[in-house]
């Protein structure tokens, strides 16, 4: 595990994720960040589907990607994710995408928990905030 991270998810680049430059399209990295984020949360109770079942949603407020080396079809990638900056409804994820030893991209996303109907900010449920803090506390 990469220092500073306690979680990673693996994926293989799909052909449909490439573009006519022969590399992965720049928007796809946000899809990968989301996959890692959902997998990260899936370890706690019912994760993101559980949050949605509780009438809550997690909105994405901001997203940032640094593209450091082009990813290509069939590449085996590891997406590291960590969660922090939990304050009320807000939280933030950071990511690093690696191909073997090489960093392909990094970035972060900022989020808010909202009620699913009116999309008003709502404090993150205690069980989830605690589970995230516990998980991150084990990072080296």
């Amino acid at each position: 595990m990469r220092p500073g991270f306690t979680f990673a998810t693996d994926l293989t680049v799909r052909f449909s994720e490439t573009d006519a430059q022969g590399v992965v399209h720049n928007a796809v990295y946000l899809v990968w960040f989301e996959i890692a984020r959902i997998d990260y949360l899936a370890r706690f109770r019912d994760g993101y589907p559980g949050l949605r079942a509780d009438g809550l949603e997690a909105l994405t407020l901001e997203a940032h990607v640094r593209y450091r080396a082009p990813a290509r079809f069939d590449d085996r990638l590891r997406v590291y994710a960590r969660c922090g900056d939990l304050r009320g409804a807000r939280f933030r994820f950071e990511y690093e995408i690696e191909r073997g030893e090489e960093i392909v991209a990094d970035g972060w996303t900022a989020h808010a928990v909202v009620d699913a109907e009116l999309l008003r900010p709502t404090r993150m449920p205690g069980w989830l905030a605690e589970a995230i803090r516990d998980a991150e506390a084990t990072a080296e």
Copy 2:
């Protein structure tokens, strides 16, 4: 207007729609069919958003594409669409995609109107069936 069609919608190929073969990815054609279908219906009252506001949905039951010439980034395409085979909840769209005189692809999709909550088949609203029949009656 191409014989047999009374409606067409124009689009320009997006860079994100291409893949590492340098041409448009095969799944994108179903997105284009849907755009033409929604634009086609938009001429009648509130079209597809109106159908959804009425608590109805249109499900896609089947889809077929014949790829006849590769489409490329920045191509200007015209997507012809016609609707027929209206029977109860069912209807069917046919499409032809052209780049100038050249046929790039053709295909069809089969659909059913359902109530949005339980997804049970529901007869197409009379105002919509009539509007479609009237529109298609003008085809040469």
Copy 3:
């Protein structure tokens, strides 16, 4: 293994693959067919990347999907794939997508091997045709 199939690949529905109907968008199934097709071929020498390294490409000529039950976010799906109708440059894949015991969709795609530069039909390499026939011969 489902009768008639010797190969399947597993995937989990991504949140980005859903649409505002709350189910998977109809174009995504062609992406899943492609994933199964590429995984299927990956068992033989270098599979599809190997084909591309040899200066060959596989074009999709036709695609067909029957949507039988909506797939939803986080569903665990199994995509069965088999290859047949090998004639010269042409070949055909058939697919079934299942969620547990339930069939979510089925369909097929038709393809041609072409040289990557001029996109002219080229007989499928003997090693690949043989490997496919051997693999399918084990189907029950």
Copy 4:
């Protein structure tokens, strides 16, 4: 025209761009930024396709999005774009996406011109740098 911008491109939200939250998926905004960027450049000689024909490519180095209000199916959006910070191979685009008077999102992307073969940074062609500076000089 919005103060500070000399260019905008219009688009209508596609159904395929929504997700099961009922709003546009967060990765789609990068696709829209790219559409505006390509339309922006299309005004100068042959734009981005012309750059590619010259054996050059524009890589995306960094991307940032602030999501300010959810976009929905069928929304009519205007994507404002401006280009600046031209230094050697580097340049930067800024964007604002509006629905009527409301700001839906804003963001920026950083880019480098590279030769298409080896992806090495290459000074932006003089004709393009000049055309961009001339266009931006007219901003209020």
